[in-house]
């Protein structure tokens, strides 16, 4: 989320909004109106909305020029996020409403804006922990205790789990990417396979029979 959001009023001319957008290098602006209850987000405007003005694009309104107020082209109603929303929920809302960014609103107050790129980066960042770690990908039955068996086996091997993510899921099975505090992911995979678990990564390096 970007916290430092420029406040734009609904009456700012479209031309000025375009200038501001180029200056700030943002692609989405919330439009904020001051009222009796304080500042309120009344709409959103994107770089695409601005570029459409005066263009022959079918979605462009022929009666609007760059000197008109931005309120004429802003999108409403506003689809918002809360700072405590789950990243996945925000991502789902972006996709369902086909918008590129959500204003983040806490108690009617605008506190930031979150874009699709922010969300991708946050999800990617979850994969690696802060400590050095190895990747283990396991597939477990999609039923109670499926993952617990793997985690128990890892604890018995004295390994710490730095992060867990679902990589794939269907009715029968779920695959998890687990980051572990060991360099010897191969040894862990061997131990789990010996216990009957399905390990997708690391693959076995079996060179026992290769001529030297």
């Amino acid at each position: 989320m970007t916290s430092n959001v420029a406040a734009i009023g609904p009456d700012m001319p479209i031309r000025d909004v375009t200038t501001l957008m180029e200056l700030r290098r943002f692609r989405h602006f919330p439009i904020v109106e001051d009222g009796s209850g304080g500042a309120r987000v009344v709409g959103m405007v994107s770089d695409r909305d601005l570029r459409a003005v005066g263009s022959p694009h079918p979605s462009a309104r022929p009666d609007v020029s760059v000197f008109d107020p931005v309120r004429l082209i802003m999108s409403t109603p506003v689809i918002t996020a809360h700072p405590d929303d789950a990243i996945e929920d925000a991502a789902r809302r972006l996709r369902r409403h086909r918008v590129g960014a959500l204003p983040v609103i806490e108690d009617d107050r605008l506190v930031g804006i979150v874009s699709a790129v922010d969300l991708i980066e946050a999800l990617a960042g979850q994969r690696a922990g802060h400590q050095p770690s190895s990747l283990l990908e396991v597939e477990v039955p999609n039923r109670p205790g499926g993952l617990l068996g793997v985690l128990g086996a890892l604890a018995r091997l004295d390994l710490n789990v730095a992060s867990v993510n679902t990589t794939r899921s269907d009715a029968d099975a779920v695959a998890f990417a687990i980051r572990l505090d060991t360099i010897d992911a191969a040894g862990v995979a061997r131990a789990l396979r010996d216990d009957g678990f399905t390990v997708l990564w690391p693959v076995t390096v079996d060179t026992a029979g290769v001529p030297t």
């Binding site: 690696a128 050095p132 190895s134 990747l135 505090d181 360099i183 010897d184 690391p202 060179t207 030297t212």
Partner: protein, 404 residues
């Protein structure tokens, strides 16, 4: 550095001592010290290592160690090795699956630091042009944390010696299959140390770092080079990205000395990583390093070992080839029978009989190889795209020796 005063052209040193042949983390640990006597005896039986070339490790100035590691961490390692109870062992990465607490491990780890610092000192003092410390190369050890089988970072301590005591600009080149995270972290904000690491991508392999956008910070912006390659990378693709990135980095940085971490776990037999280099591919890398040292650091080269978890078939043969490249010698096509005889019954498997591997490495999937090579090439170009403008700035700068 001025010129290497007393160093005879081509003179080489091999740091070795009986205690370096003992396992630091226990006999059952995958980090096998037996790789060292296997390498040394292979060279001796083949007549490729002269007794006058062997040097024992000198004791280092302890202050050097504390430039790299926090005092409380060093103390924790010592206490743990003595068997004293340690409440916060885990926060120091001690007593973990990778770094179990083993009696006297502190002494063993310090001996490894002594060995690598000795190799560096021998080169810095001009007593030899090239020196090897195959016991060293513990590149994962961090300032206050053991990691990935590594307790003390012998490489970082050797770099401290070369920079602070001798005022040399050091280029660190890491060809281990894993990212050299500990060394990078120690120097990523320094302008007088260049770290280059080629490794299997952190997406797949420990320690999960070393991406192409890690390029150093502050005064060290541009002095950190990472080329993460895909699992399955073969000789041709590895050499292609090596040639794309390494010579330009050295040309931009202009080192006085090169420190090579030569982990042998990029070989296709290694059970802990998934790169698919052959012995011939490793030799091609070693040849390039020698040529680069001649071209950019007046031949001055310090070499360490590192990873390598196929300890009988792969590591001794790889490092023997590396020593031969350093010394301008050549392993005989058929390895000496007396070497095999000396080890018979002492190790659990057969030793290799030839200097190279059979040409036929089994079936290959050409489409897969091409795809991997294409991706690796794109990654290497991204690395260069981020760094080239910074390097161009160094060249324009009047103060050539101090990239800002």
């Amino acid at each position: 550095m001025s010129t290497s005063g007393g160093a005879a052209a081509g003179s080489v040193r091999f740091v070795s001592a009986p205690e370096l042949d003992e396992p630091m983390l226990g006999a059952d640990h995958p980090f096998k010290a037996v790789r060292l006597p296997l390498t040394r005896t292979l060279l001796e039986h083949a007549g490729l290592l002269d007794p006058t070339e062997i040097v024992a490790p000198e004791r280092i100035d302890p202050r050097l160690l504390y430039r790299v590691h926090d005092a409380d961490y060093v103390e924790a390692v010592k206490l743990a090795a003595r068997g004293d109870p340690l409440d916060d062992a885990w926060t120091y990465g001690l007593g973990t699956a990778d770094n179990p607490i083993v009696p006297r491990m502190d002494v063993a780890a310090l001996r490894i630091v002594d060995a690598t610092v000795t190799a560096a000192a021998v080169v810095a003092r001009g007593e030899a042009l090239r020196a090897a410390s195959f016991a060293g190369g513990l590149h994962h050890a961090q300032r206050a944390r053991a990691s990935g089988f590594c307790l003390f970072n012998d490489l970082a301590v050797a770099i401290e010696l070369l920079t602070s005591r001798y005022g040399l600009r050091v280029a660190y080149l890491d060809i281990d299959a894993h990212h050299g995270d500990g060394v990078q972290a120690a120097f990523e904000e320094r302008g007088d140390v260049l770290t280059i690491s080629l490794h299997e991508s952190g997406r797949f392999l420990f320690p999960g770092t070393g991406f192409e956008d890690e390029i150093g910070r502050g005064a060290g912006l541009g002095t950190c080079v990472n080329v993460p390659v895909d699992p399955g990378t073969d000789d041709a693709s590895y050499l292609e990205v090596f040639d794309l990135v390494v010579p330009s980095a050295l040309a931009a940085f202009r080192p006085d000395v090169i420190l090579l971490q030569a982990g042998a776990d990029a070989h296709r037999f290694d059970p802990l990583a998934h790169l698919e280099l052959s012995i011939a591919g490793l030799i091609a890398v070693y040849e390039r390093v020698m040529a680069l040292a001649d071209r950019f650091s007046a031949g001055r080269l310090v070499v360490t070992g590192g990873g390598g978890y196929d300890p009988y078939r792969t590591v001794p043969r790889a490092w023997a080839h590396l020593w031969c490249e350093m010394a301008g010698r050549r392993l005989p096509e058929t390895l000496p029978a007396s070497w095999h005889a000396a080890w018979r019954g002492r190790i659990p498997t057969e030793l290799p009989t030839t200097a190279l591997e059979p040409e036929d490495a089994g079936p290959t999937d050409d489409a897969r190889r091409a795809r991997i090579a294409s991706h690796n090439r794109a990654v290497a170009h991204r690395t260069l795209a981020a760094l080239t403008p910074i390097w161009a700035g160094w060249r324009r700068s009047a103060h050539h020796d101090a990239p800002l």
